[in-house]
């Protein structure tokens, strides 16, 4: 029997007058791959912050491994939205991974954690560039290193915020396959926030779709239908399936499936 690692009951969040989502019920089982979709500003990243304990709910209840979320919890691994790292930043790939192990401790590090760091780098295929400064790595390489860093604490839930942003299609597939392989080998649950449905579609167990007029949880086939999304957006949406890819078309979604423009 798989246990629930993350639970939200009747959760609601608003910024001032604007309600991001309300009445949200979600139970994530260990090993489950949940894809979080929705237009910009629908509160996808904020949902991750709620789990991380850096953003309180306005109402409702959230539990991480049965407890209220707590900042610094080792139960969570976090791969944040990619940001540009200055090439001159004196931090190598292996240093970034090591920070995931002991970066929050006071004082200078005493023990050598080389073996553990090598293991983590190897698991994501980042060994060839372990000693490169992070700022000199390509986007895909940086994401691999960030995933290794997030796995350092052996988390029960991996929170990924747009890990595919600014990657080309091949790298998108690589990174997604890596995250999927990781959850299969470690049993960690994955909450995967993304704009790009297609790379994650083969691995997704369930979709959480946060729309302007409501949200939906279910299998991709259940949620990603013209009828369903039309209701979530409150305006006509067409979901087109072609050659194993899914294209979502509508007035409000053009910003949201930008990948289709350069795909």
């Amino acid at each position: 029997m798989r246990k629930n690692v993350l639970e939200l009951h009747d959760a609601a969040l608003a910024f001032g007058e604007r309600t991001l989502w309300s009445g949200l019920d979600l139970s994530v089982a260990s090993g489950e791959f949940i894809t979080v979709l929705g237009p910009n500003g629908s509160g996808k990243t904020t949902l991750l912050r709620v789990a991380l304990g850096t953003q309180p709910l306005d109402s409702g209840r959230v539990r991480v491994l049965g407890h209220p979320p707590r900042r610094g919890s080792r139960a969570l691994g976090y791969v944040p939205q990619q940001r540009i790292v200055d090439p001159a930043t004196p931090v190598r790939a292996r240093d970034l991974v090591r920070m995931g192990i002991d970066g929050h401790h006071w004082g200078p590090g005493r023990h050598s954690l080389r073996e553990r760091v090598d293991e983590l780098l190897d698991a994501v295929g980042a060994t060839p560039y372990a000693d490169m400064p992070v700022g000199l790595l390509s986007g895909g390489e940086q994401q691999r290193v960030r995933i290794a860093q997030a796995l350092a604490a052996e988390p029960e839930i991996l929170l990924c915020d747009e890990p595919l942003l600014s990657l080309d299609l091949r790298r998108q597939d690589e990174v997604t396959a890596l995250i999927d392989a990781t959850r299969r080998s470690t049993g960690t649950a994955v909450l995967f926030v993304t704009h790009e449905i297609n790379p994650v579609l083969p691995y997704t167990d369930r979709v959480l779709y946060l729309g302007p007029a409501g949200h939906a949880v279910g299998t991709p086939d259940d949620v990603l239908t013209s009828e369903h999304l039309t209701r979530l957006y409150g305006s006509p949406i067409d979901v087109i399936s072609a050659q194993g890819r899914m294209i979502i078309v509508g007035d409000d979604v053009h910003a949201h499936h930008a990948e289709e423009h350069h795909a």
């Binding site: 900042r71 944040p80 930043t89 004196p90 929050h104 401790h105 200078p108 060839p128």
Partner: protein, 308 residues
């Protein structure tokens, strides 16, 4: 007596006569042994400053805060000038100035863009105050000039003690926060999620930076603080990204520049700071050249050398 001699910043003004050619004023090693004894205190202070500057520079580079260093040092100058005017200890004055600046920058400038404009606003204000205090100060002109462009200040036993305590506080503080500060500087979002108090650390760092700047103002002057707090670390990061070698090289470079500069300046009749800044700059140029060659050859030999 020694203190007042050294205090002018022109140790050998009497030794190098006005008739000497200009290079005689720049480099002169007459009576070197005797001079060396006189400035022992300055050399110790210079070495302490190099240790502090080399270490804190690593974080200044990581956090991209070169401009903040400059801003803090102008406020430090204002504090020192005020201290000179009202007749209290100059180090205490420059410490007060730089800590006030550090706290203001920390409180008002959380984000990088905000921070730069806050610094840009504070800096001329500090400089202006300093100029006012100096204009009102009736004392020696050499003291005034020295605060901006550096001098071998009156390094007596008490001053060496003050600087040692300051250095111990800054180095101790940096060692304590080393790992979480690195984490917060390089990867603030993940650090915050892992429970690192990112904002509090930012404030702690600024205060430590303020203390380091107050030390540096005494040796190289407010305008040239960057030469010991940034240039050595910038040179080090050109050569390596190792978390061990960056601080080691940075401190070594700062040490060569500070102590080497003082030793070269001993017999000369110009201030000490040009020697320090020039050595520092040459080290940077060499490091940059070496680093560029290294980058072109590829940072490490990748096993599968596929260009990305």
């Amino acid at each position: 007596m020694i203190a007042s001699l050294v205090g002018t910043g022109l140790v050998s003004a009497g030794l190098a006569s006005a008739g000497d050619p200009w290079w005689g004023q720049l480099f002169s090693f007459d009576n070197y042994g005797e001079l060396l004894v006189l400035v022992r205190g300055s050399i110790v202070t210079g070495a302490l400053l190099a240790l502090v500057g080399g270490l804190i520079g690593v974080f200044v580079i990581q956090r991209d805060m070169a401009f903040a260093v400059h801003g803090v040092s102008e406020m430090s100058f204002a504090g020192a000038a005020a201290a000179l005017l009202i007749g209290i200890d100059v180090v205490a004055g420059s410490m007060a100035g730089s800590i006030i600046a550090a706290v203001l920058i920390g409180l008002l400038g959380q984000r990088a863009r905000e921070r730069n404009s806050i610094i840009g606003v504070l800096m001329p204000f500090g400089l202006g105050l300093g100029v006012l205090f100096l204009a009102l100060y009736p004392g020696r002109a050499a003291n005034k000039f020295g605060l901006l462009t550096g001098q071998i200040v009156a390094v007596d036993e008490t001053r060496v003690m003050t600087m040692s305590v300051l250095a111990a506080v800054v180095i101790g503080g940096l060692v304590l926060v080393w790992r979480p500060l690195t984490f917060a500087s390089v990867d603030p979002e993940v650090a915050s999620a892992r429970g690192v108090p990112v904002r509090a650390l930012s404030m702690v760092f600024l205060v430590l930076l303020g203390l380091a700047v107050a030390m540096a103002v005494q040796i190289v002057g407010a305008l040239l603080v960057l030469s010991l707090l940034i240039t050595p670390a910038a040179a080090a990061t050109r050569l390596t990204a190792s978390p061990v070698w960056v601080p080691v090289l940075s401190v070594t470079f700062a040490m060569v520049a500070a102590v080497g500069g003082i030793l070269l300046a001993l017999g000369a009749s110009v201030p000490i700071s040009p020697y320090i800044t020039t050595i520092s700059f040459i080290i940077y140029l060499v490091a940059r050249r070496v680093g560029t060659v290294r980058l072109r050859r590829g940072w490490v030999s990748r096993e599968s050398s596929v260009p990305s």
